[in-house]
Symmetry: C2
Subunit: 578 residues, 2 copies
């Protein structure tokens, strides 16, 4: 059995008492055997020194022996010695109760808990307070006080608890009690644990690479190598906050902070709410491949790799595969998975790998069916998030302040055409956007300015821009039959930032080929030829959809300064670790 | 507006009636202006020929004009002309009822339906039967018969319907009726549709690359370039089945077949049941990255790619990231996503990209907690699958026969140690396995032989082998404290084939480093150093888990001959399309 704890708390290995003396004597002997013999005086001096050192070592050994004997006596006398210590596996008989489930019925009763030591504070030699964190921000105060007769808690046990390093993982048996005053530093403020047993399962380091306080504060800088645009600097006191770099180098502390756990919970709920709504609306889930045979959506920004003597690419979106599912008879599909962009973009909105929430559906009578469905799923997410993640959202806001996310009432959704959006910008936007035209795509600053106008005018942070100019959309976008200058394609926005692009796709092969040629795309290129042919294999219904960036939805909803905070393991041009 | 249907059914463009005559005259003139003048006889002959051709062209033009006039008259007289035709968007006022929801209340009432033409058969000139497939195997017989007064259905309309190519997508308005006899060829056998309007939205090809009958039959061969091992040849009649190669080249027809849709539905349910069970048991979902900075689980079988001047790799499993989630305080996590293996393995069980269902959880008192949880989730999947996918399983069995999947009763789960498994093989297995030893890993044939013994002996297709030899498990596997020759690691099996590997992982950094050195792995190598350090950043609880191959679970449950049939877009060393 490998007992790891030896490393964390090595037993003091006293050197053999005679060792220094022997070494000194050996040194003298070596001298005596040497070419140039030392003087008598020197020999005497050495002898005296050796004697002195031997005496010293002897005394030290005696002291250590006395200490060890005292310790042994103490241990023998430590009636609590089985109630604490380092253990790999701990079995406790008290019932397990999650901190979130504590109530007055538990008062006076024993419980068990497995948690991280978040803080500890000795009160004299006989009492110690420990803050125990179970998960997220669920923490409770533990009290350990030496029993008058040394049982169940001895003075040694209290001392041992006080010396446990922060972020160690412990198993505790305790009685639930009411504290004299509510414990402000813990989420569970109305109960405390009177500890009777405590075992350390895995020790934290002597010195944390990132303290919990700093990990739970706003990031001080997102910069890496001076590349990140639009830095966000927190107001936290120096030493109380750290850079994203430090957070990611200390991934465990980054993740353990209640802030990051709250963000993760929000993200998890966005994902679940997305799937939940679609399933209820007859969507089927599927898994598109990441490895594809051709850089079919354009050669730029695609990762390539050697593949058994050929080349493979990483999918930039599941677009073609969603369409194949529709052509393949599934009518309505969604998928949740990674997408890859080989863009050297160091902005708060870009990552090289992110999670896409993708939808594709048959269009029956109008492509607006798709817009309504996409609005429906996003409203479902936002509304339920407010309910399900109330505490988490409040926690995040306490660190990254934001105004509540404004939603339109049902029936009052804001859907502007691209041209109407440009008109608003020209008429009500800042000076520099007075001359924007209807046939060129919007820049990020334009989008943000429009978001501000719309919030003021319509009272919503969520809206749709429809009918994007033909020139701004890819070859598979369906032109508006009534006005081929624009497409049946839209973007969805949150707080003035794009979270989704989508539209109706061309479903008829001849039309698709014609638009490809018009856009200067070769319908016979590898990957594209196969794509066009799919629509020739069997009649494919009209269809449309969209792709939502999960990381962006979370970041923009919570108004986080950088999308990397919403990711589990952000991937950027300069970062592949952890 | 781009009217694609022109391509599918081009209007007959008659050449101008005078054209051939004019051309012939021009030819004669050119001859007259030439250097060597033709003889009078030749001139006369040419004149006669031109005259004759002009006559011929005139007559042809007259005939065409007459036909066109007749057609025009017919069209004018076609009282049904607005009730059929090629349309891009069709709006119908009858209520939409899914085929699965038809009941006697619908008899005599109008409905609308959007479906693929799966078959059609003219009965004389006035009546036509069409099989309409909505989704999966939900099909119904449509009848279109010319009305005595040509309204709502004309003879022309019936003829037009009879000529619609198979696998075209149509929108139909019809009255629900009881057929004289149940329609055996359709799933909805007790109702039929008396069509009053029918529009073709997207035309199928004149000749299908793969017929529905062949697509819905067992695959005749999985071979590619003579590489695939263990070929499975179906018993279908020649011409009635096709190779996997043909299926994948005709992905749309492959996907539309009721067989493949049934498999997809089973797959979708396995995935949903997995997530459902885990969520109920306090597991959190997360998304691990695919792009990683080092080939951390061993250099072989990993895809590498250039990444902004450095190298990136595709994750072979989310193993390290699941562990970071546990160390990061999430206690119980799962993830569903792609994993990549650069193995040149052409077997019925291998793909280069597949979907992993991964679990990791804190171990509180015994690593058996993990085994029980994994058994729990798989039993939950298998039991509910039987209920939720009854029809789909029956459909698959009608094409790929299999015995029902046998599950153990609760409390009678079969968990053997690896050594017990080897003993069974030695004592009750085939001759060639009489000498298997306890310290070498099992081969695939050994696993299958053991599966057969266990089915016979214990009546289950689902079981666990535990305590794999130390030598057979990776450096992060926890050795059994009671016997370091074996590990706290297990495989799960279905019908004698491995679907999951898992075990307890080492959670203490010193123990991890020591085992790495023992296994000849450098703890300071890139990727591994960062991995070990994670456990030093804060105390990490003991934990364990496992990774399930989704494609394998589906394939083995349904007893499909090849895992590629369970994938949406299979990826193998020789295939990256579609």
């Amino acid at each position: 059995m490998a007992d790891e704890q030896k490393t964390a708390a090595p037993p003091s290995e006293a050197p053999p008492a005679s060792a220094p003396a022997t070494d000194a004597a050996a040194g003298a002997d070596a001298g005596a055997d040497g070419e140039a013999g030392p003087s008598k005086k020197a020999l005497k001096k050495a002898e005296a020194k050796a004697k002195k050192e031997a005496e010293k070592a002897k005394r030290a050994a005696e002291r250590e022996a006395a200490t060890a004997a005292a310790k042994a006596k103490e241990d023998t006398e430590d009636k609590a010695k089985d109630n604490y210590g380092d253990r790999e596996i701990v079995t406790l008989s008290a019932p397990k109760v999650a901190l979130r489930d504590y109530n007055d019925d538990h008062i006076g009763k024993p419980v068990k808990l497995r948690a991280w030591v978040q803080n500890s504070r000795m009160q004299g030699a006989k009492m110690c307070f420990v803050e125990l964190r179970e998960i997220g921000d669920w923490s409770i105060q533990g009290v350990i006080a030496a029993s008058p007769d040394g049982e169940p808690v001895s003075k040694q046990m209290v001392k041992w608890v006080g010396a446990i390093s922060l972020e160690s993982y412990v198993a505790v048996e305790a009685t639930v009690q009411k504290p004299l005053d509510p414990v402000k530093s813990c989420r569970v403020s109305n109960y405390e644990l009177h500890i009777t047993k405590i075992y350390c399962i895995a020790r934290g380091p002597e010195m944390l690479g990132l303290t919990m306080n700093a990990s739970n504060a706003a990031i001080s800088s997102f910069d890496v190598d001076g590349k990140m645009q639009e830095l966000s600097v927190s107001d936290a006191a120096p030493g109380q906050s750290a850079t994203l770099e430090t957070h990611l180098e200390n991934i465990i502390m980054h993740k353990r902070a209640p802030l990051q756990q709250a963000i993760q919970t929000v993200r998890e709920n966005v994902r679940d709410l997305f799937a939940e709504y679609l399933k209820k609306n007859d969507f089927h889930s599927f898994e598109p491949p990441c490895l594809i045979g051709a850089a079919s959506e354009g050669g730029a920004n695609v990762f390539g790799l050697p593949y058994f003597g050929k080349s493979a690419y990483l999918a930039q979106s599941p677009q073609f595969y969603k369409q194949m599912e529709i052509a393949g008879g599934r009518k309505r599909v969604y998928c949740i998975g990674p997408v890859f962009r080989a863009e050297n973009s160091n902005t708060p909105r870009h990552m090289t790998e992110f999670t896409g929430l993708d939808i594709e559906m048959e269009i029956e009578e109008s492509y607006h069916e798709v817009i309504y469905t996409l609005e429906g799923v996003l409203k479902h997410i936002f509304r339920n998030l407010e309910e399900r993640c109330k505490d988490e959202i409040a926690l995040v806001r306490s660190i990254y302040p934001s105004e509540p996310f404004k939603l339109p009432e049902d029936g009052k959704e804001v859907r502007l055409t691209f041209a109407e959006g440009q008109k608003l910008l020209r008429e009500e936007g800042p000076e520099e956007f007075r001359n924007v035209t209807d046939d060129e795509d919007m820049s990020t600053p334009q989008e943000k300015a429009l978001g501000a106008i719309i919030r003021k005018k319509y009272g919503t942070d969520f809206y749709v821009l429809d009918k994007f100019p033909e020139s701004a959309r890819p070859f598979y976008a369906k032109e508006d039959p009534a006005n081929p200058q624009v497409t049946n394609a839209y973007d969805f926005f949150m707080r003035g930032q794009e979270i989704m692009s989508g539209g109706q796709r061309i479903n008829l092969p001849a039309e698709l080929e014609a638009r490809m040629r018009k856009k200067g795309v070769d319908p016979n290129a590898s990957g594209l030829k196969e794509y066009v042919n799919v629509f020739r294999q069997g009649g494919c219904p009209p269809h449309g959809g969209g792709g939502i960036g999960l990381d962006r939805v979370v970041a923009f909803y919570l108004n986080l300064p950088n999308v990397q905070l919403a990711a589990y393991y952000p991937r950027t041009p300069s970062r592949l670790f952890p």
